[in-house]
């Protein structure tokens, strides 16, 4: 008979037997195969969830392919997916990211990681990884400070690079846009905004510095609070100053409201742009047309999703995950390829597999990826520093929320 007393025992018994059964069935490994865990640390819930999930799928695809093709004989790669976002923050949370970094470092089977996406998380995670000599490859974090030797004591106390990137940094992304504004759009004066986040402030700073070098007048610099709803005060102020262009460093938290509200206040012809924070689905779903039309944005990598050579990957990604990849899903996949090749080269050379050897192998690697050959400099930055520019252009041949087709590729940014 089911009473309160024996219900507890029954439940405990059921739980115990299910766990044992699950443990036996769950690890369907080939006999003798060892596990290598690869962390995937991204803000999978909250404000940046959509982009983060696309990145996750890119990384998972690389790991899945490595396992299916037995790229690392004798080993099975197991992804450990950790969420850097919390509900209190409503988006990426550096404190949670630090906890995730510690979790990976504490797991003896974890050898490397892909991520984080956000530089705010990167700043929190890098020192923890550095002390453990644990390598991570970020497909999207662009704040330059993390790999800058000037801040080595803060982000890389061990002195050996651990924060690798398959994207370039805002040290190049911000200035690239400034070059574009000056050389191509012929903008003489500009107003700069940021969203107070690590990424936004960083990229706005580098844009502003280069703008001044190019002879553009910077009429002002202000900060938008992503939690506030109303930016009309800032926009009225900007309108009164009458700049020839506007630059926004930040992500869609503040960006969506800025783009929406500037439509009614600033002249439509005024060039307005931002960094890779603006190349997000929200630009099309929350803002939409006509407000989003004409906004420029950059990404810190070459533009590949329309490249014919990359189409087989695009089709595979779409059929596996039922969504389209964006350029950072590709850099995530490439990050996965780098890790797989690094570990496989260790196995083929008969070297031991531990964090130090994996880190060293990644540092020395030259890997053929979708974005071409990927190699890293001594600080972990990718050697190929291409920045691509897009403009939101209404394309009625595709659904208006199609992130791949509503952002028109303008070209590679001028490098000086």
């Amino acid at each position: 008979m089911l009473t309160r007393r024996n219900a507890g025992k029954l439940i405990a018994g059921a739980a115990a037997s299910t766990t044992l059964l699950g443990a036996g069935l769950g690890s369907a490994r080939a006999a003798g195969e060892k596990e290598i865990k690869i962390g995937i640390t991204l803000p999978l819930t909250g404000a940046d969830a959509e982009g983060a999930n696309r990145i996750k799928y890119g990384a998972l695809l690389a790991i899945q392919q490595a396992n299916d093709s037995n790229a690392i004989p004798g080993y099975k790669l197991v992804p450990v997916i950790l969420n850097n976002a919390t509900s209190t923050a409503g988006q990426y949370d550096p404190a949670q990211a630090a906890t995730n970094a510690r979790k990976l470092v504490a797991d003896p089977a974890a050898m490397a990681a892909i991520g984080p996406e956000m530089s705010g998380d990167g700043k929190a995670m890098s020192p923890i990884y550095s002390e453990a000599g644990f390598a991570t490859i970020t497909p999207a974090s662009t704040n330059p400070d993390i790999t800058n030797p000037k801040f080595g004591s803060e982000f890389d106390p061990s002195g050996k690079a651990v924060y690798f990137r398959t994207v370039t940094t805002d040290a190049y992304q911000g200035p690239a846009m400034a070059n574009f504004y000056s050389d191509v759009l012929k903008v003489g004066s500009v107003y700069v905004l940021d969203d107070s986040g690590a990424y936004g402030v960083g990229i706005a700073d580098t844009f502003e510095a280069r703008a001044k070098e190019k002879g553009m007048k910077v009429l002002g610099r202000d900060r938008l609070d992503p939690m506030q709803a109303d930016y009309t005060v800032s926009l009225t102020k900007i309108k009164a100053l009458n700049p020839e262009g506007l630059y926004y460093g930040g992500v869609m938290g503040a960006g969506s409201k800025l783009v929406k509200q500037s439509y009614g206040i600033l002249p439509q012809k005024m060039p307005k742009g931002g960094g890779d924070g603006l190349l997000a689905p929200e630009m099309l779903t929350s803002v939409g047309f006509p407000a989003a039309e004409g906004w420029y944005c950059t990404i810190a990598s070459p533009h590949l999703t329309e490249n014919p050579a990359v189409q087989p990957f695009v089709k595979l990604y779409e059929s596996t995950w039922h969504t389209q990849p964006d350029d950072y899903a590709i850099t995530a996949y490439d990050a996965g390829l780098v890790i797989v090749n690094a570990i496989s080269s260790l196995v083929k050379a008969g070297k031991p597999i531990n964090r130090q050897s994996v880190r060293d192998a990644i540092q020395a690697s030259h890997t053929n990826t979708l974005q071409g050959e990927v190699a890293f400099d001594q600080y972990g930055d990718v050697v190929n520093r291409t920045v691509s520019i897009f403009q939101v252009t209404k394309n009625t041949n595709y659904p208006l929320t199609d992130i791949i087709h509503q952002f028109k590729y303008v070209g590679s940014a001028p490098t000086s």
Binding site: G90, A229, D230, V233, S234, T236, K239, S256, F289
Partner: protein, 313 residues
């Protein structure tokens, strides 16, 4: 833009901000006035009210920036959205009172005080997370069916919507004021506000008065939510959090529990935000607002128009 134009525009911006804060502060201050409870959940009921309004308008086929209805059907859709959001939010408020606060009243003798306030913080987080987890964190594109009609004042743009916000706020404030002052239920609410025990002894249905206070306070939050969505054309799980902080400040500044105080407080906060942003910098807005709040409370702790809260005997 000339100097007068800029200042005029910022004053208009400040008035529209202030109207929003005032509307939000009204329902909040009403509940405090009756049972001396700081109801933090109010601001997320506002957020849910805006989602309800969005769903109703989407059900009518309105979406994004395309105006599909005009004239009478449009008015009908808006009125329907208003009624549904007010009713939905009102019932949410009643549920909050019934299941989380009334048990406290039974056990501790009052629903107000610290325990009640902390309970409403908890409820607030629950509502916030339910929407976040259920509907995602991205900002939602709120239907924009209102025509854009702008008037020029000294070169500045005065949108019809700003006038509408103030019109609705004033109508609601006057309606609320009349209800509380003139109606039988309003009298019951004021009696409970003065002294719940004595009111009970005089035959007033205290429970019903409190339920009504929560219903109307939350219904006002819902109306504010719909208006927010129509004005800004977006909503998200976050809107309660920040609008709430400023509206709460507005209520306290004007005198918490005081209905005209909420309007005045909202107006002042809105103008500080706009003019402080223009002449100092937008990033200092919070510092300026809270500095002024602290300054005024130090001089006059009951707020500008004085609090109207249950008196203790």
């Amino acid at each position: 833009m000339s100097e007068t134009t800029v200042v005029t525009q910022q004053v208009i911006n400040g008035l529209s901000l202030g109207g929003m804060y005032a509307l939000l502060a009204l329902g909040f201050t009403l509940v405090y006035g009756i049972i001396e409870l700081i109801n933090f959940a109010h601001f997320n009921v506002f957020m849910i009210g805006s989602f309800i309004g969005m769903w109703v308008l989407q059900a009518f086929g309105l979406s994004g920036q395309s105006v599909l209805l005009t004239g009478l059907p449009l008015a009908g859709a808006l009125v329907a959205a208003l009624i549904v959001s007010m009713f939905g939010s009102g019932m949410l408020g009643v549920a909050i009172e019934r299941y989380t606060l009334r048990p406290l009243r039974g056990k501790t003798g009052s629903a107000g005080g610290t325990v009640g306030m902390i309970t409403t913080i908890g409820v607030s987080y629950i509502l916030f997370n339910v929407i976040l987890l259920g509907f995602g964190a991205d900002t939602k594109n709120f239907p924009d069916p209102l025509p854009i009609i702008q008037f020029k004042v000294e070169g500045a743009n005065l949108d019809l919507r700003v006038i509408l916000i103030w019109l609705v706020s004033i109508v609601l404030m006057v309606g609320l004021w009349l209800f509380v002052q003139k109606s039988k239920l309003g009298k019951a609410m004021r009696a409970v506000a003065q002294d719940a025990e004595a009111a009970r002894m005089m035959g007033v249905d205290v429970d019903r008065a409190v339920i009504m206070a929560f219903f109307w306070g939350s219904a006002l939050a819902g109306a504010a939510g719909l208006i927010f969505g129509l004005y800004y054309n977006f909503t998200s799980f976050l809107i309660g959090y920040t609008a709430g902080l400023r509206a709460f400040t507005a209520a306290v500044l004007g005198g918490i529990g005081n209905i005209p105080g909420a309007m005045l407080g909202g107006l002042i906060i809105g103008l500080i935000e706009a003019l402080g942003g223009q002449f100092i910098a937008v990033k200092w807005t919070d510092v300026i607002i809270f500095a002024i709040l602290v300054f005024i409370l130090v001089l006059k702790p009951t707020g500008l128009l004085g609090t109207m809260a249950p008196s203790k005997s």
